[in-house]
Symmetry: C2
Subunit: 99 residues, 2 copies
Amino acid sequence: MKEPLSQQRAERIAPLLKALADPVRLRLLSLVAAHADGEACVCDLNDAFDLSQPTISHHLKVLHDVGLLDRSKRGVWVYYAVRREALADLGSLIGGVGA
Amino acid sequence: MKEPLSQQRAERIAPLLKALADPVRLRLLSLVAAHADGEACVCDLNDAFDLSQPTISHHLKVLHDVGLLDRSKRGVWVYYAVRREALADLGSLIGGVGA
DNA sequence: CAAACACATCGACGATCATCAATGTCTAGG
DNA sequence: CCTAGACATTGATGATCGTCGATGTGTTTG
């Protein structure tokens, strides 16, 4: 990273990091990633936390809104999947800031 | 990343991401990293933003408190330097969550 | 249609955050 | 000492955030 981040680029990246900057959302993301087919249904995720169902739904929405989770509804259930490309890009960007 | 993040690990990592999750702090970090000797004095950083001096000082403190910036005072000036190891660890962790 | 279930949305509340102006602390020069 | 400069700390304010209970939406089953 020779050139410092432009203001616009920083303002585009910060929301992604803000979405990740919560213990519950970090665990949600890794739980989905660790799941069998790379996707997990909300019912499974709810049971992993001591939080209300609306709260989990809220966190999943935050991760979905910034493009870190894909969402697909099948029947009564909703499945979330990690957008690994977005996560990889973000990771290399962070590691790359230090050169 | 086979195993999902433990709650304790998530709670240890989230503050680092929270520190990064701000456009001003992202730019501060990359400005320091892009500086000649890998360190920059606060006076240089202040001029790069349209913010008050206490605000910049606050952001630098946040980055320092989580261990992303080193601080050294020489004479009247204070120099900050990026802790590249911490940044690299965080970056690979993020990229690694998706497998 | 009705009831049950999975999940989302809404409204509210306390907590945290980014920012500023004012003030404090330390260092260097006169 | 005293003044000026570089940076930090404090206190206040408006905005955002995480969480909850209550309610809404859509789907399956009887």
